[in-house]
């Protein structure tokens, strides 16, 4: 890896996939730092599409040009049909991020171990979030989730549920085009050397398994404060501590997230919902 590659790394588009949102003031700090780090796509946890749309109109956000995937999709619809390159349209819209453009995405993380409870939750949050992920500490639940079409990601916290990931789960995830979401915050938020070595040991074991089975994965920082945000290049470098190759993780910080978002945007768009199954 040359220094040119790394210095160019700042120009890569990045997506922060798991922002824990508390209040509007903190969100403005997130935007300020995300703009400095050139992170144009922010995914906010536990914010419904409706809440997001009202948030976009709220005061204090005039400095930023916030948009949604639905708006980009609608604006570019004629162009998309002509060229068929949906990813390029989104990327061209977001890059270069000079005029404080941000794509705001909503997501929900379900923390459950029982399949029935997950089914109930999935039913109640239908069409309310753009991305849905599951965090579970039960192997069978994870396998069930990997086959469910409503769930996009399986979240892995290295210190908490990485031991439930095995080879059979990796194959199921790969077969069903699901993605493992690896949270790197435990790597930077550990307090002592013993914990760091534990994260590195468990992380390396996990990455070895994921890479050997070629299962798709993405990196996320899960920032609780804006200072925990990292650029795509930095996330890939942190990932290389877990022995994942820097060069092979090029698509793990933006492209895969965008693919999932585009697929879900099309699914949620009014033009793709038949009248017969539209809810009252």
């Amino acid at each position: 890896m040359s220094h040119k590659e790394i210095s160019k790394g700042n120009n890569f588009l990045t997506c922060e996939n798991y922002i824990l949102f508390n209040d509007t003031d903190e969100m403005i700090d997130f935007f300020v730092i995300a703009f400095r780090l050139k992170i144009p796509m922010l995914v906010i946890n536990d914010l419904t599409i409706k809440e997001r749309n009202t948030f976009l109109e709220s005061a204090g956000l005039e400095k930023f040009s916030l948009t949604t995937s639905k708006l980009i999709y609608e604006k570019a619809k004629s162009e998309i049909i002509a060229s068929g390159k949906l990813m390029t349209v989104f990327k061209n819209f977001l890059y270069p991020n000079d005029d404080r453009k941000f794509l705001l995405v909503t997501r929900k993380t379900i923390y459950e171990n029982s399949i029935d409870k997950i089914k109930n939750q999935l039913g109640s949050i239908r069409n309310q979030y753009e991305i849905i992920s599951l965090y579970s500490k039960d192997r069978n639940t994870l396998k069930w989730a990997a086959q469910d079409r409503r769930i996009d990601y399986i979240t892995i916290e290295i210190l908490e549920n990485s031991e439930f990931i095995d080879q059979s789960l990796c194959s199921v995830v790969k077969q069903n085009n699901k993605i493992f979401e690896i949270v790197l915050s435990s790597l930077i938020n550990t307090k002592n050397d013993r914990e760091i070595s534990e994260v590195l040991r468990k992380g390396k074991k996990l990455m070895k398994l994921i890479c050997s089975t070629n299962t798709p994965f993405i990196f996320t920082m899960k920032p609780e404060s804006p200072l925990e945000l990292r650029t795509g290049s930095q996330m890939r470098l942190l990932g290389s501590l877990l022995e994942s190759s820097y060069n092979k993780t090029k698509t793990c910080v933006f492209d895969k997230q965008l693919e999932v978002l585009i697929a879900n945007t099309i699914k949620l768009h009014e033009s793709h919902v038949f009248e017969g199954i539209q809810e009252a």
């Binding site: 220094h3 790394i6 730092i33 790597l187 938020n189 200072l227 290049s233 996330m235 470098l237 501590l241």
Partner: protein, 108 residues
């Protein structure tokens, strides 16, 4: 076989709530983090040298060898606090010459 160790200059900007972060504290914090991750052997071979640091602007230049550049950048991404002050180190650029690095520092 080329055995020369070429230098790389990392231009960085510290983002933090604190108005000032002292140079000596910041330096020792980088050394400590480097040693935590890559050990004494790694840090001794990295050729780390602080070319420039502006306490008020919170910007600076760190020199390292071209082989240890990924390690240094990993360390800078790994760092979250300096003496209980939360920080974020933004890499502005990586240059091969000190003049170019200083030029980047003054223009940005």
């Amino acid at each position: 076989m080329v055995t020369i160790k070429r230098d790389r200059y990392v231009v960085f900007h510290l983002i933090s709530d604190a108005e000032k972060i002292e140079e000596s504290i910041f330096k020792s914090s980088i050394w400590r983090t480097y040693q935590t991750i890559f050990g004494l052997y790694g840090s001794s071979g990295a050729g780390l040298y602080f070319e420039d640091y502006d306490e008020d602007k919170k910007t600076g230049i760190i020199r390292c060898t071209h082989t240890s550049l990924p390690q240094l950048l990993t360390v800078l991404a790994f760092m979250t606090e300096v003496k209980e002050t939360k920080i974020l180190i933004q890499i502005m650029n990586v240059s091969g010459t000190v003049n170019k690095a200083k030029q980047i520092l003054t223009t940005k």
